[in-house]
């Protein structure tokens, strides 16, 4: 049989036996505890999605169905784990495989032909779905990280020309790069003379991130803003020394209070206590 005919033939046979295949699939998935927390409706939907994606690809030899599978999953917001999805496809593959074996009982050549057609297609389906799913998850994580970053790097105006930028949590080099642009744009808009970068909330730092921070300070200086650093933790200080990061020319203070004192001093202010009555 011609290639596309093989696909057509296989799928029509699979369709005829859909019920039985579904029962077998559900039973195997349940045996591995992969369908817990899913309603019967959701289980049916999941099976349909897996079955139809596979048959669609087998029928045509093209992979649009596989590509859109992950996207659909994300849109419908079905809370399936990676394991559930991949196992779902792998179990189906095994079931289809046995089905094909039975279909060609006694016809070794026919069986070989069909496997030659079926196997590469299914391999591709599996890898496309997996890669796509992972990309979706990564994109979700990135969105969450962006949200966290927005919350964790507010620029707080303490006084005219004194702004506080407290950094919290893990700062990787990707976020650090975004930080540079955000800080410099802010400076351009507000003309703030001093920014206090408080890193008391940062537990660890790597070379790239440290370099990005230094770059930010250098660029800010070129624009006319001084960035001082407060709250460097002992562990971070040690790392900086080990990495050979040079902080000459940069004002640092042990805590925020000292940083604020410095800032007021630089702007020409002095704090005087009101005489008590």
């Amino acid at each position: 049989m011609v290639k596309s005919d093989l696909g057509e033939y296989l799928c029509s046979k699979l369709d005829e036996n859909r019920q039985a295949i579904q029962a077998e699939w559900v039973s195997q998935m349940e045996a591995l505890d992969l369908l817990i927390e899913l309603t019967p409706n959701e289980i049916e939907e999941q099976f349909n999605a897996v079955f139809d994606t596979a048959t669609s690809c087998l029928r045509t030899g093209t992979f649009e169905a596989a590509i859109s599978y992950a996207g659909n999953l994300a849109q419908k917001n079905i809370p399936l784990t990676l394991q559930q999805v991949i196992s779902g496809f792998m179990i189906k593959r095994d079931i289809f495989g046995r089905f094909i074996k039975n279909l060609y009982e006694g016809d070794t050549e026919g069986w070989q032909n069909m496997l030659d057609y079926y196997e590469p297609i299914h391999r591709s389906v599996l890898s496309i779905v997996t890669v796509d799913l992972i990309k979706q998850q990564e994109s979700k994580v990135r969105q969450q990280q962006d949200a966290i970053l927005k919350l964790s790097t507010p620029l707080v105006e303490l006084w005219e020309n004194i702004v506080l930028l407290p950094l919290i949590g893990m700062l990787d080099s990707v976020r650090a790069k975004q930080l540079i642009e955000a800080v410099l744009t802010y400076i351009g808009q507000t003309k703030t003379e001093i920014i206090i970068l408080d890193v008391a909330g940062i537990a660890a730092i790597d070379t790239k991130t440290a370099q990005h921070i230094l770059l930010t300070i250098q660029a800010a200086k070129l624009m006319g803003t001084e960035i001082i650093i407060t709250g460097i933790r002992p562990e971070v200080a040690t790392t900086l020394v080990t990495l050979g990061i040079n902080l000459t020319g940069i004002q640092t203070r042990g805590n925020l209070r000292e940083g604020i004192k410095y800032s007021f001093g630089k702007l020409g202010f002095k704090l005087i206590e009101n005489p008590k009555n």
Partner: protein, 125 residues
């Protein structure tokens, strides 16, 4: 006879201010430098404000021009303040690690004046 500068150099209080609106390519750069230094000498100005807010690309050549002006001005007792640098130019220069020595930087003209006035006070003490 003073070199006529294509780029205007104006007096602002005791200081000079110049705000190039055009790209400073090589031939203009020499004329501009000379004009600035001559004006400083003429007016015995203690400060020069260079406003580069209209310049969107600053390469190593321009950095050298600015540094040269600042160095020469310094010798004549005049401080130079660079103002109006855009965030994009600032990042680019920082990434190239180009040093801008002998030049103050300020966020706007008002702050530039403050710096120059402060420096003037310092000399008096």
């Amino acid at each position: 006879m003073a070199t006529e500068s294509i780029i205007p150099i104006l007096k602002l209080d005791n200081f000079l201010i110049s705000s190039p609106q055009i790209a400073i390519h090589d031939r203009i750069a020499v004329q501009y430098k000379d004009a600035l230094l001559q004006k400083i000498a003429e007016t015995k100005s203690k400060g020069l404000i260079l406003d580069i807010s209209a310049i969107d690309v600053v390469d190593s050549f321009l950095v050298r021009v600015i540094s040269d002006v600042a160095s020469a001005a310094n010798v004549m007792g005049c401080h130079t303040v660079l103002t109006g640098m855009s965030p994009a130019v600032a990042i680019t220069l920082a990434e190239m690690d180009l040093q801008l020595k002998g030049v103050f930087t300020a966020l706007d003209i008002g702050k530039s004046m403050k710096i120059l006035q402060r420096e003037e006070m310092r000399l008096r003490d």
